[in-house]
């Protein structure tokens, strides 16, 4: 049984994780960095299947490699064996990873909201279509609507346009005023402002709408038509793909399994990115949705702290505080409007794994009761899709994470070689 160990184990090789790995390694720690994907960079820096990684990831990764960071790609941490000891599934089988300190850089998931027709093939998460396009999905010439909420929509629309897609429109649920106020606040962040201006330049010619959201997707076997509501009006489109998600949700399962406190859906950390559990740090979206700049700063602080450095460098500390103010404005500007709760009809499927419809759930007051009764959230995605949706629709807490954090083989859960040996000799002895 493979067992690895390192001074610092960083879980997740997105911006926060890469920055943490670099900082820890540059402070002299032996670092292991794990990620579920084949290459570092996370979702935001995901490399196209036929190209080199974009610059930020490449630079951080170059520094990490230079300092001897050991990357474990296609490796999913699914459990906690004991304090500071993780279990992960990798192509070669399960591995046990012992750590002096752990940095959680587990990132975020997109929040999907169910509406009639959202289960049709051709409906994707906004970041989902981007990830798939970078994995070989052909989007050139495809008619695509981008909808939902958050700055991600703009980035995805610009990406799709660059890839030759016909972006029919961007439909943002937030009010124009709220978004305008948020845009105004970017004056405080010159870097972000430049990026936003460049993005908007790229999006010239694509109709953009606020207070707008999808109400119905239709098609026979595949998505063919989409109806969106813009203010009081409905518009319909013939289209190939819909890219739709309603903001990001921190991924906190591993933090919870380790016993870290999670509040309002985010891992609680202090100025050194320490969680409430000794020797466990967290950085990036897992500690609250703040974007890539924030993630890199938090990762650098967490990595240095995990490697034993004392207080964060004052410059990093100041920058993080500024980023956190940005994150609060972001959350406020793009908070979900209550009208979205009415999108989901009684016969709309909420749990895609078990095909549980909204009408089957509404009679239950308790989330766990509903899950046991209907099997909602008990399929392979373990509630990753329906959990955040029901958190918004019903106010239900997210499913409590348990071993295994992602589905793994039974073999991976046999952690002690002597268990297998003891069982193997059982027939002979008895």
């Amino acid at each position: 049984m493979t067992e690895l160990s390192a001074d610092v184990v960083v879980v997740g090789a997105g911006p926060a994780g890469l920055a943490a790995a670099v900082a820890a390694a540059e402070a002299g720690a032996h670092v292991i960095l794990t990620d579920e994907q084949p290459a570092p960079g996370g979702q935001i820096w995901r490399q196209p299947w036929d190209a080199q990684p974009p610059a930020p990831s490449r630079e951080l990764w170059r520094r990490a490699e230079h300092r001897g960071v050991r990357l474990l790609p296609e490796t999913a941490v699914f459990g906690v064996q004991e304090a500071r000891c993780l279990r992960a599934a990798s192509p070669g089988g399960a591995v046990t990873i012992r750590a002096g300190a752990i940095v959680l850089a587990t990132g975020a998931l997109e929040r999907m909201l169910p509406f009639p027709g959202w289960t049709l093939p051709g409906v994707f998460a906004a970041g989902g279509i981007q990830a798939l396009a970078k994995s070989g999905l052909e989007v050139a010439g495809k008619r695509i609507v981008v909808a939902g909420s958050g700055p991600l929509l703009l980035a995805v629309a610009a990406f799709l346009k660059r890839q030759g897609a016909v972006v029919l429109g961007i439909f943002e649920q937030a009010e124009a005023m709220a978004v305008a106020r948020f845009a105004g606040s970017l004056l405080l962040h010159p870097g972000k402002l430049r990026q936003a201006a460049a993005l908007l330049g790229e999006l010239t010619g694509i109709p953009g709408h606020h207070s707008a959201w999808p109400v119905r997707a239709e098609g026979t076997g595949w998505l063919e038509r989409l109806t969106v509501r813009v203010g009081d009006q409905e518009q319909s489109f013939e289209l190939d793909f819909l890219a739709c998600s309603f903001g990001l949700v921190p991924v906190t399962g591993l933090a919870e399994l380790l016993g870290c406190r999670v509040e309002s859906g985010a891992v609680v950390v202090d100025r050194q990115q320490r969680t409430t559990v000794p020797a466990v740090f967290a950085a990036g979206e897992a500690t609250g949705i703040g974007g890539v700049d924030s993630a890199v700063i938090e990762g650098a602080i967490a990595g240095a702290a995990a490697a034993g450095s004392m207080d964060p460098a004052p410059s990093l500390d100041r920058r993080r505080n500024r980023e956190q103010a940005f994150a609060r404005r972001l959350a406020l500007a793009f908070r979900l409007r209550p009208e979205l709760k009415a999108l989901c009809e009684a016969d709309t499927i909420v749990c895609r794994c078990e095909d549980v419809r909204f009408g089957a759930l509404i009679r239950y007051g308790d989330a766990r009761e509903a899950r046991l009764a209907t099997r909602c959230g008990m399929g392979p995605c373990q509630g990753r899709m329906c959990g955040p949706a029901l958190n918004f629709l019903r106010g239900w807490p997210l499913p409590r994470p348990a071993l295994p954090l992602i589905p793994v083989t039974a073999r991976a859960l046999v952690t002690d070689a002597t268990d297998r040996t003891a069982s193997a000799t059982f027939f002979r002895e008895s």
């Binding site: 036929d50 798939l132 589905p407």
Partner: protein
């Protein structure tokens, strides 16, 4: 032109660019990855291994997330998952 590899989907041979994922290869041919518990056609949603909508039987392994698997010559994909 990228190098092409041969993928077998439900017995049908497809020539697809080397390096893309099985999920992308299926989508490009408008092939659904799976049928849901209630019989609906389903295709990938999240593209990053979280939604499990892209599951198919890959080289005999049921419930494999096709967005996490790159195409290989002769890879056998069954969409009856």
């Amino acid at each position: 032109m990228p190098e092409m590899v041969r993928l077998v989907v439900d017995g049908l041979e497809l020539q697809v660019p080397a390096g893309i994922t099985v999920a992308a290869a299926l989508l490009n041919r408008r092939l659904v990855a799976r049928r849901s518990v209630g019989g609906e056609p389903r295709a990938p949603l999240c593209g990053m291994g979280s939604c499990f909508e892209c599951r198919a039987t890959v080289d005999g392994r049921p419930h494999t997330r096709t967005c996490m698997v790159r195409v290989r010559n002769g890879l056998d994909v069954r969409t009856d998952d």
